[in-house]
């Protein structure tokens, strides 16, 4: 048994502290504004949930965006029909995503490997295309589902008179935009992290790992693996639904593009980039990708000229032109290069990078435990 650096309790405490203090330590990185922090937390939940399926069982779902989208739609409908309170919205988002995950999972889990991936992809793309076309009465098609003044909001209508303009989402009176919204997401992220931690350490989690390493052997022991797989699939779908509903809570609109395969692909990349099957990795990957998406894309040539103004003029223009390829509109180039570099040099994602750094600073022991690379080449 590998000795852990932290006990689970202290891991959770450290994690909570890091998440809750995010507005402080992200400030030097230029990321300390609530919209981005909300995205960190929300996509962290999404990736943590995805990791429960992919990291533990090895089943690569390419359709998790469908659950994200359904969570958003359910949340916005809850705002429209019942109340602007965030709790029912989150509840409905999770429940509907869970139901959809149950259906899709029940069908898709009949196959394994790439056949499973393509089945989930097909279901998600069907949901996306339907949301765009036939389901327009429910999803409002291309425009996306939005709040409007004339929404019934039955529960809210019982208690208070509708004010002027669009009401905003709230949690018992606290407006859910800006930092309060972030703290709601952050608390839920910590809860999700705790759940994921418990799953990783539980017999259920062990069972899922067993399925990953050898499903046949698990079956030979007389175990029906399907219910376990389905449970993992539904749990991870519900995490995605939660993330989707939080997207709607912080910004009450839902569009079909959230269900597109690119969104599914994004969460796959987040998880792999951070480190598949690790507790903290998916969160790191999600944060990194969102950081790139928001910060690198906002650089423009003016800012670059400022940054490199210490160089002589000719050289400055050259450097700015070159760096300009990688930031601003070209931020994806940096992201692509990052994917390539990380996967070549750090097969276990960012987490493995940290582990290597940690190992370098610790005194070397003379035991003959095989290093991960030896295991892989077997």
């Amino acid at each position: 048994m590998k000795q852990r650096l932290f006990s689970d309790t202290s891991l959770l405490l450290v994690f909570s502290a890091v998440i809750l203090l995010m507005p402080m330590w992200t400030a030097p990185l230029g990321a300390a504004y609530p919209d981005l922090l909300q995205q960190f937390a929300i996509y962290g939940i999404f990736a943590i949930g995805f990791n429960i399926l992919f990291g533990l069982t090895g089943y690569l779902s390419f359709g998790h965006a469908a659950f994200l989208g359904v969570g958003s739609y359910a949340a916005v409908w809850s705002f429209k029909l019942f109340t602007m309170n965030a709790i029912p919205a989150v509840f409905f988002g999770v429940v509907f995503a869970g139901i959809l995950a149950l259906i899709i999972g029940y069908l898709s889990l009949r196959r394994s490997g790439i056949y499973f991936s393509i089945l989930t992809l097909a279901f998600a793309q069907m949901s996306y295309n339907l949301a765009y076309s036939v389901l327009t009465p429910i999803t409002n098609g291309e425009t996306g589902l939005q709040l409007s003044i004339n929404d019934p909001r039955w529960i809210d209508a019982l208690y208070k008179v509708a004010g002027e303009g669009l009401p905003s989402t709230n949690l018992f009176g606290i407006k859910m935009s800006g930092y309060p919204g972030f703290y709601l997401c952050a608390v839920l992220l910590i809860v999700c992290f705790f759940i994921s931690l418990r799953i990783f350490r539980s017999p259920f989690g062990l069972m899922l790992r067993g399925i990953k390493s050898n499903q046949n052997r698990m079956s030979y022991t007389g175990l029906n693996t399907r219910p376990y797989m389905l449970a993992a699939f539904v749990i991870s779908g519900m995490f995605a639904g939660l993330a989707g509903s939080l997207l709607a809570v912080t910004d009450p609109l839902a569009g079909a593009e959230r269900m597109q395969w690119t969104a599914s692909g994004e969460v796959v990349l987040m998880t792999i980039l951070g480190g598949v099957g690790t507790l903290i990795g998916p969160m790191l990957g999600a944060g990194l990708i969102k950081y790139f998406e928001n910060i690198f894309s906002s650089f423009n040539s003016h800012m670059l000229h400022d940054a490199f103004s210490f160089l002589p003029d000719g050289l400055e223009n050259l450097v700015v032109d070159f760096v300009g390829l990688f930031v601003g509109g070209g931020w994806q180039l940096t992201l692509g290069l990052l994917f390539v570099i990380v996967v070549i040099f750090l097969p276990g994602g960012i987490v493995e990078g940290f582990q290597r750094i940690g190992r370098a600073f610790r005194p070397r022991r003379n035991d003959d435990t095989p290093s991960p690379q030896n295991q892989q080449s077997e």
Binding site: G113, Y115, V134, W261
Partner: protein, 338 residues
């Protein structure tokens, strides 16, 4: 009746495009065991080969316009036309078909460099790593193309003689209502030729036989003293070439932009998997099947009965096939099933 025939043609045409890309994908799957997410980007790269070629041979300069004598007028004239007269003009007109010849060495080189430089290190890595690295590569290729050519689609014209429509109905005595763009017919024919060429290469040459044996069991082939890795590298280059020329030929149908590859990629993955992992015939069959099914679903008569069916039919068919046939249409047992 007419519309059914027309949709059949449409379907064959779409199917040909899917089949060509899926063929390359499944070749790479089958030989190297690599999930190549950069395949769509290679398709796009092929299309931009045509764009570059078109720009190069159309390179022009300002010359004196002699037809206007009243005042000194100037006009843009391509160098080729100045040098070779009408022959030069014909060459410019046939830029797209000629770009195929130009793209062959480029695509082979791209494929070879990609395999030797990057993919080679990922044979034994998990599929997740392969997906991430090829996806990253695809993004890099896309962004470089975007930085070079801009984000807008660049239209290219088919040769003038092929730019109109063919009166197919007239050929078969079915009346004049069935007309179909010439270039799409050419594309269909071209795809068939390429598909048959690839199959012929694998089926009827010694080289192809060794490759097929390697697909079955690379270790045994290696033990027989054959350098199977080198052959697989060449197969990878061929797969790249197939995607590349498919991209070149597709330019007059769809003006290329930098993200056209991604759109095709997902569909071709569906096609490959529906066809069955590791089966070339399956990929081609599934490509044509899905193409035809999709065009029939987009007929108004069908749409009136089941609204929205045209949007989901491909995925619906894929789901039904995968749930009834465990390994797609013609998949082999044990390939990418875990």
């Amino acid at each position: 009746m007419d519309s059914i025939l027309l949709q059949l043609l449409n379907g064959l045409d779409k199917g040909a495009a899917y089949a060509l890309i899926a063929l390359g994908l499944t070749l790479v799957f089958g030989t190297l065991g690599i999930v190549n997410f950069a395949h769509g980007a290679i398709f796009m790269l092929g299309a931009f080969c045509a764009v570059t070629f078109d720009k190069l041979i159309g390179y022009s300069t300002k010359i004196r316009d002699v037809s206007i004598t009243a005042f000194p007028a100037y006009k843009e004239e391509a160098y080729l036309k100045i040098w070779f007269g009408d022959t030069g003009e014909t060459i410019i007109d046939y830029a797209v078909p000629l770009a195929i010849i130009a793209s062959i060495p480029i695509m082979l080189f791209v494929g070879y460099a990609m395999e030797r430089g990057l993919i080679r290190h990922f044979y034994k890595r998990p599929h997740a790593d392969q997906i991430l690295v090829t996806f990253g590569l695809a993004i890099v290729i896309q962004e470089i193309v975007k930085a070079t050519f801009g984000a807008n689609p660049i239209p290219l014209a088919a040769p003038e003689i092929l730019s109109g429509s063919a009166n197919i109905g007239h050929w078969f005595g079915l009346g004049d209502t069935i007309v179909y763009p010439w270039w799409r017919l050419v594309y269909l024919g071209f795809s068939s030729v390429v598909i048959f060429a690839v199959f012929g290469f694998l089926q009827f040459t010694t080289y192809g036989m060794v490759v097929r044996a390697g697909m079955r069991d690379r270790e045994t082939v290696g033990l027989l003293g054959i350098n199977i890795e080198r052959r697989f590298t060449i197969v990878f280059a061929i797969a790249t070439l197939v995607a590349g020329v498919a991209g070149v030929m597709y330019t007059p149908i769809l003006p290329p932009d930098y993200h056209m590859g991604m759109e095709f990629l997902v569909l071709s993955f569906v096609v490959v998997v529906v066809g069955g992992m590791g089966s070339l015939g399956g990929a081609v069959l599934a490509g044509f099947l899905l193409g035809i099914v999709q065009s029939f679903a987009s007929m108004n008569e069908v749409k009136n009965i089941i609204p929205g069916i045209d949007q989901i039919i491909i995925y619906l068919v894929a789901v039904v096939i995968l749930l009834t046939l465990p390994r797609g249409l013609m998949g082999r047992a044990g390939v990418m099933e875990d």
